[in-house]
């Protein structure tokens, strides 16, 4: 699989302040990578370095095996920044025309308008559009050059819930069409839903880089719940791979690293067990737990 972004041992200092410390990763074609980390973890600096808006103190970044300031590279990159951009006294339709002129093979105007989904409001002056409208326009503008890789930095900030739902559907369709997507968001449930891979930054380093399932395995225990009339003593005697959290009038809750094995241990009494439920922590819960561990 082609590696589109290669970040090799990136470090960044601002004076004495360390912002990134030896960050390395590659992004492959077709992936949806979610970058998460608390405020000040270095997410924005990392994106700025990848895009060539900032240079690393040490280390090296390449996009499409070329330097990130290469014109042919920029032609294949789309960016939707956290804060929308625009021009005074220019309409949405004119902004599309202007941004299209920057790229060698832009998308047709009709496709860009469809992506923005603003209808007749596309003729409004950009700076007079609402925050949500400007986000939608900026997404369409990020796609104007028909990029191979799309960077989305807090893309749904300022959007209402319907717009957010529609937005992520569009992103899924783009991914299915073969686009590579690199996204950061404070809405971790959105990252959990969309990303095929998570990069977790903590204390200026990569704490975790892998799939959501691996992240959950690594950082959380599963919770197994069920109801039974069997006495607590008997149930505990069967279970070896988990610990009992609570027994509330026959409603048992175990925490375990291996829920499949725990269920197998209950097989001898399975006929007397009802309402089995296995749950895992959400990305949001994992994030808070990991951050709490970091503080302790």
């Amino acid at each position: 699989m082609a590696t589109i972004v290669k970040a090799n041992n990136i470090s960044k200092h601002f004076g004495q302040k360390l912002v990134l410390d030896g960050v390395s990763f590659g992004i492959h074609k077709g992936e949806i990578v979610g970058l998460i980390g608390e405020n000040g973890a270095g997410k924005s600096t990392l994106i700025n370095i990848i895009l060539g808006l900032d240079s690393p103190s040490s280390g090296h970044v390449s996009l499409f095996d070329k330097k990130n300031d290469d014109k042919s590279v920029k032609d294949k990159v789309g960016v939707m920044f956290q804060d929308s951009y625009g021009l005074s006294r220019i309409r949405g339709t004119e902004m599309v025309e202007l941004v299209r002129s920057h790229f060698a093979n832009p998308l047709p105007i009709a496709t860009i308008n469809e992506l923005a989904g603003l209808g007749p409001d596309m003729r409004t002056m950009v700076l007079k559009m609402s925050g949500g409208q400007r986000r939608k326009l900026n997404f369409a503008l990020a796609m104007a050059g028909d990029p191979d890789i799309l960077f989305l930095d807090e893309p749904t900030a300022g959007m209402d819930s319907t717009s957010r739902y529609e937005f992520w559907n569009q992103v899924r369709q783009l991914s299915q069409a073969g686009k590579t997507i690199f996204v950061t968001s404070h809405y971790l449930e959105e990252i959990e839903d969309i990303a095929s891979r998570i990069i977790f930054l903590r204390n200026h380093q990569i704490l975790f880089d892998g799939t959501m399932a691996n992240l959950k395995n690594r950082f959380t225990k599963s919770i197994v719940e069920f109801d039974t009339r069997k006495p607590e003593k008997e149930i505990i005697a069967y279970v070896h791979t988990g610990s009992l959290d609570s027994d509330n009038q026959g409603h048992y809750t175990f925490t375990t690293d291996d829920p499949d094995k725990l269920i197998q241990e209950l097989v001898p009494v399975i006929s007397e067990i009802q309402h089995i439920k296995i749950t895992q922590n959400t990305l949001d819960q994992i994030f808070r737990e990991v951050m709490k561990e970091g503080q302790n």
């Binding site: 700025n48 060539g52 808006l53 900032d54 240079s55 951009y85 220019i90 025309e97 790229f103 060698a104």
Partner: protein, 247 residues
Amino acid sequence: MKSYTTQLKMDIKRLIMRNPKFVIFDVGIPVAFYVLFTKVLNAGMPSSFDKSYMVNMAIYATLLSSIVTVANNVLSDQEEKYLRFIDVSPVSRIVYYTSIGTALMILTLLEVLVIELVGYFYVGVSLPISSLLWALVIVTIASIPLTVFGVLLAYTGSSSLVNLLVYLIVFPVAILSGLWWPLQMLPAWGQHIGKLLPTYQTSVIVNNVIQNQSFSMKPIIILLSWLIVGAFAIIGTQKIQKMRVSK
């Protein structure tokens, strides 16, 4: 090339066609001054005053548009993050600056033309059309160093600081370079400073041309020096700005 022509089309719309307040300010004030001092408060003025003051007010109009309009618009583009888009797009900032410069030259041409038309038809300036055309071309081209400083001012900080600096520069420059009243009325130190300013040198070139006087390279060298200093200052400022990004 397409990115340049599209950017220019947008810049003409936003800087000239959809910017009536600034355009009226840039042209209206010099025209009002010109009419006031040539038609109302004109007692004891020599006959050549109508011509020289027309040139001065044309230069004053370009000073206003090149500094006030440019600084405000580049600052707005910076605050609205348009320049950051340029930095991640395949098109360089040179296209953006060249387009702003071209749109400003078109605005300058219009301003100078309006002042010349007022001079010719209302005040009654007697100059051959060729002299008026020369003045039009020279004042327009000589406004380029001023535009460069307009861009530079936009990088100095917040909008309140930029606006303060703009007015702290425009009016003293207008006075020191003899645009409002003759340079000889200033103290010696003021005259020394005034003669180094690009606006004064532009008036020297234009007055030499319309009075058929001998051609001198000195004003052109001074204007070019301002252009080079301004261009290097912009490059330096942008490097510093890049070092500060994401801090």
